[in-house]
C-alpha cells in the first residue's frame, strides 16, 4: 500500500467517522464513568475502527462505531478483571412506587422538573446493562434495531431492558424528588 493510498484512506475515514465523535465520547463517559478512561476508550475505538475500515460495508457508521466502543469498554473491564459494577439480573424485581399514588399529571409535572446534572447522575447510577440501553436510546437516539446491533442482543431483550431501565429511572427520579420536597 502506498503512502498516498494510506493518506487517502485516512482522509476518508476521518470524514466518515469523526463527525460521530461526540456520540462515541458520550457513550464512553457513561460506560467508563471516569473521564480519562473514557478518552482512552474513545481513542482505542477510533484506532480499531480505522484498522477495520476496509471491511466496513455500512449501513450506518454511528452504530458501527458505538459497537466498537462498547467492545473496547468490555475488554477494558475484562482486563482489569472486574465486572462493570455488579451486572444485575434482568429479571430482578424493580419496585417503583405504584402509579396510582399520585395524580398521573402531577407525577408527570414532577418528572419534568429535573436539570441536566440530576438526570446525568440518575442515569449514571443505573446498573450497566440498563444504563447502556437508556444512553443508546435516549441520548444517542438509536432505534431499537440499532441498539440490538450495537449490544448484540435480540430486539425483544432490548425492549424489555429499556422498559425496566426506565422503571428504575422513574423510581429513582421520584425518590429523589420526594427527598427534596
Amino acid at each position: 500500500m502506498s503512502a498516498d493510498d494510506d493518506s487517502e484512506r485516512a482522509r476518508r475515514f476521518r470524514d466518515a467517522a469523526l463527525p460521530h465523535l461526540d456520540d462515541v465520547y458520550t457513550l464512553a463517559r457513561y460506560l467508563m464513568r471516569d473521564q480519562a478512561d473514557a478518552e482512552d476508550a474513545v481513542q482505542e475505538c477510533y484506532l480499531r475502527a480505522l484498522r477495520h475500515f476496509d471491511s466496513y460495508r455500512g449501513p450506518a457508521m454511528r452504530p458501527w462505531l458505538l459497537a466498537i466502543l462498547r467492545n473496547v469498554c468490555k475488554s477494558e473491564f475484562t482486563r482489569r478483571s472486574e465486572r462493570p459494577a455488579a451486572e444485575c439480573n434482568d429479571n430482578a424485581p424493580v419496585e417503583p412506587p405504584a402509579w396510582q399514588e399520585a395524580q398521573p399529571s402531577a407525577e408527570a409535572e414532577l418528572l419534568r422538573r429535573h436539570d441536566a446534572a440530576a438526570i446525568r447522575r440518575l442515569v449514571a447510577a443505573l446498573p450497566p446493562q440498563f444504563r447502556e440501553a437508556v444512553v443508546l436510546r435516549d441520548i444517542n437516539d438509536l432505534s431499537y434495531r440499532q441498539i440490538a446491533e450495537v449490544a448484540g442482543l435480540p430486539v425483544g431483550t432490548v425492549m424489555s431492558r429499556l422498559a425496566r431501565a426506565r422503571a428504575m429511572l422513574r423510581a429513582a427520579w421520584i425518590a429523589e424528588q420526594g427527598l427534596k420536597s
Binding site: Y25, H52, N71, W99, P104, A108, I119, G156, A167
Partner: protein
C-alpha cells in the same frame, strides 16, 4: 391486553417503534386504564426532560486532536497488526441471530407478547415515517438552543422572517389571549422537506406547529391522535399541511387547533 403486557409496549409507543395497528391496541388499553395513562404521561415527561437537558457530551478538543494526529501513522502500522478481538458486532454479522434467534430465555416478556413484538418493531410505511419525523423534530427542538431561530412573540416579526427561506408562507397567529403564547419560529425538516415550525407555549409545555406545502390540499381536519406517545393534531387547509405536536393533553391541543384554524381563516363569505 393487560397492564404487564402493555408495559413494554408503552415504552415502544413513546419510542415510535410500534406499527399503526399495535399502536392503536396500546392506545386503546391506555385509554381504558388509569395506571397506564399515568405511566404514559410519566414516560413522555421523562423523555421530554431528557431531550431538553442536552445530555450529549462534547468531546474535548484535545481528544479530537489526539485522534486526528494518530490517524495516518496508525494506518501504516495497521498493515502489520493482527486484527484481534476487535470484530465489531455490526449488522453484517449478527443480524441473523438477532432476528432469527428469537428472544433470550428469561426476559420478562410473555411468549405471546414477544411474538407480537417481532412484527411490531418492523414497520415502515409513509405515515409512520412522517409521524416519527414529526415527533423527532419536536423532541429535537426541546434541546437547548434548538427551539427557535427567530424568537419573538411578535407575529409581524415571525412572518417576514420566513420570507425567501421557504416556498410556503405559513400563517403566523398570535394566540396569547387564548392562552397559547407565540414564542417564535424556525426552519425544520420533515420527510426530507424543509418546513416552517411555529413555536407556542402553554404553561411550560411547548407546542410545535409544523407547516408544509401541500399543493391542491383541500380543507380537511383529522382527529387528535397519539403518535409515538405524543398528542398530534393534523389538518390540511389552503394547500398547507399542519401538524401540531405537544405533550399537552389531547383536549388542549384540540382547543389550540380550533383557535388557530378559526383565526387563520379569513372572515370570508362562506
Amino acid at each position: 391486553m393487560n397492564c404487564s403486557e402493555a408495559d413494554v409496549l408503552i415504552n415502544a409507543l413513546v419510542d415510535g417503534e410500534l406499527d399503526a395497528g399495535h399502536a392503536r391496541d396500546v392506545e386503546a388499553h391506555v385509554a381504558s386504564c388509569r395506571d397506564c395513562t399515568g405511566k404514559l404521561a410519566s414516560l413522555q415527561a421523562m423523555r421530554s426532560a431528557m431531550a431538553g437537558a442536552g445530555l450529549m457530551e462534547k468531546a474535548p478538543a484535545a481528544l479530537r486532536e489526539r485522534i486526528e494526529r494518530t490517524l495516518p501513522a496508525i494506518s501504516i502500522a495497521s498493515a502489520r497488526m493482527p486484527a484481534v478481538n476487535a470484530r465489531p458486532a455490526g449488522p453484517w454479522r449478527i443480524n441473523r441471530r438477532v432476528f432469527a434467534g428469537g428472544f433470550a430465555a428469561g426476559t420478562a416478556l410473555s411468549a405471546a407478547v414477544a411474538a407480537t413484538l417481532l412484527v411490531a418493531v418492523v414497520r415502515d410505511d409513509r405515515d409512520q415515517k412522517i409521524a416519527s419525523e414529526v415527533v423527532s423534530a419536536h423532541l429535537r427542538s426541546l434541546q437547548p438552543g434548538h427551539l427557535t431561530d427567530v424568537e419573538t412573540s411578535d407575529r409581524h416579526t415571525v412572518k417576514p422572517w420566513f420570507n425567501g427561506k421557504l416556498d410556503v408562507a405559513p400563517p403566523v397567529i398570535d394566540l396569547t389571549a387564548e392562552g397559547f403564547t407565540l414564542i417564535g419560529g424556525r426552519l425544520d425538516t420533515i420527510n426530507g422537506e424543509t418546513v416552517a415550525a411555529l413555536v407556542y407555549r402553554r404553561r411550560h409545555h411547548v407546542i410545535n406547529l409544523f407547516v408544509a406545502r401541500r399543493p391542491g390540499g383541500k380543507r380537511a381536519g383529522a382527529g387528535s391522535e397519539i403518535w409515538h406517545g405524543f398528542n398530534v393534531r393534523r389538518w390540511t387547509e389552503d394547500g398547507l399541511d399542519f401538524w401540531a405536536v405537544s405533550d399537552i393533553n389531547a383536549g388542549e391541543l384540540d382547543e389550540f387547533y380550533k383557535k388557530f384554524s378559526t383565526a387563520a381563516r379569513p372572515a370570508a363569505p362562506s
